[in-house]
Symmetry: C2
Subunit: 361 residues, 2 copies
Amino acid sequence: MVSARRLLHTSGAFKMMRGQLIDPVIAYETWGHQSRDRDNTVLIFTGLSPSAHVASSPEDTSAGWWEDMVGPDKPIDTNRYFVVCINSIGSCFGSTGPASVDPQTGEPYRLTFPVLCVEDIAKAGAEVIRSLGIESVFATVGASMGGMTALAFCMLFPDMSRALVSISSASRALPFSIALRSLQREMIHKDPAWNQGNYAAERSPVVGMRLARKLGMITYRSSQEWEQRFGRERATDETLKAGPFGIDFEVESYLEAHANKFIGAFDANCYLYLSRAMDLFDAADHGGQVADGLARVSVDRALVIGVETDFLFPLHQQRELADGLGNTVAEVDFRPLASIQGHDSFLVDMDRFRPAIASFF
Amino acid sequence: MVSARRLLHTSGAFKMMRGQLIDPVIAYETWGHQSRDRDNTVLIFTGLSPSAHVASSPEDTSAGWWEDMVGPDKPIDTNRYFVVCINSIGSCFGSTGPASVDPQTGEPYRLTFPVLCVEDIAKAGAEVIRSLGIESVFATVGASMGGMTALAFCMLFPDMSRALVSISSASRALPFSIALRSLQREMIHKDPAWNQGNYAAERSPVVGMRLARKLGMITYRSSQEWEQRFGRERATDETLKAGPFGIDFEVESYLEAHANKFIGAFDANCYLYLSRAMDLFDAADHGGQVADGLARVSVDRALVIGVETDFLFPLHQQRELADGLGNTVAEVDFRPLASIQGHDSFLVDMDRFRPAIASFF
């Protein structure tokens, strides 16, 4: 498989937020070139499921997960910026996570992997940035969980970033989102095939993963979009319609297709760890109150984008984040967008997101 | 067990919407007394899960599911009105459903029970009303699925009701709600214990039912309510917190407690049938377009109540229903309420719902 993936083998112990020591590999990709002053880096953290392949490149021409946003002459212009995208530790696309082999035992970590926090992913990003000889990045960017990670990066390493771009994210997880993610995790660990995390790759808990992904898809989009897109259109696939409680409606076929794509690509234990990391995230852990945590951020500029139809990371959380950052950050631009695609709008509503991001860069 | 339940044994074939014939028993309860002119009946249809026990009575003093709304000197005043509440056919609280024994075989129907439509529940309600010697009811009332049933009743039997009260309901299911309910059903029928519907009562698919009920609870409430109620409060129950991916937050304990209450009380196959009936409901089936179906309603007055934070039956659907009814119904009162408890507000936000209902009656 062609890949532009690079691996940083950390030397010496990497101390996780909860105190455990691991010795991780961190996967990342880069685009463009560093300026002579090493001041043009854009650091991107990802949401729960993507790899570091944010965009195509000569080394790997396959489309990236934010292909419309990152590249030559695109809003995050790789002719001008040196872009670095990090695969989260805990994930399964090159960085060390529960599916990786523990060098101490020669067996996969599985549930012996330490509790993962969003801050650990941010720390791993800092390791990559330092390894590239960069003291401070032009901007740290993240959407969804990636926005939490970008915020954690700016709180933990206030000297390492001069701007923060937070998209459809939050300074902490709220109970409604926690409930949804907790239920997704339960769907997986109640699948008998999960087997307390000890499944073989070819016998993974696909039933639980499929259910969890479907709930994910539901929470990532919006009622309004689906009403326009599907209405009450009936499903046409006779295979899916067969049997008791087969599929009646096109929206059900859509979820089935998306879930099937996902289950082959993502490790269940990794999903559980990353999902829980989002629930555990709270800027208040960095100073007592959320405001105290946010006050640690010392970037010059921040852009906070949220979407009206996002009910997983609701707009009021973006406003609170922007307001909180405003106490210490000179220039905070809060952009509420009227996209109808819910939480996933940053991936699909390019007509609104492209100009918002481009104007910042 | 003390019960005020009455049973109507239908005589002769009961033809279901999809053409099948069954011979059902229909359970119901009544409160108050019929007036001499038999013109004071309030007919109540329920949501998916309740029994016909809407309120306590001398015969059954246990609290009903709408105890604050129905009773002497309450908004639906049983000193003035003769109240009849119907247990939906397809349910498992006295009316015939998938868990009932098929008289033809001596075995439970299970999946041989015919496809259930909301209209079938409405028809069963009409049988009860006729059996009580009532030609026309003062008002037909329903919330959630019960609102769909009340609407179906008024479309199918335009001469049998003089008013309609629809609460947090809709003239048809939209794809977002369909997706959520479809996923709940999948959680149940993917539970190996479901066994194609052939589970013994003591070995029912409790894992799937627990997941489905949790998703139900999430969709019945709102983000705003839970933020106020739970915030990021940590769970205290050490048993639930134990083990990999145990519970971290109080909101998770809350869901666990509610799910445990439900799984003992409701039959899984009945749940599947009733849930799907909601997805299948579409007023457009009664005339070509939704407006044509609504035009069949010939009540004198309609009250349509919706809640801003309801994302399962969103407010715009209540507005559309009120507008549609306005074409033929002389007096339509549309009341959008600012309750924060989401779809379930009609059960808990009595300060807003009591006056809205009382003013109508």
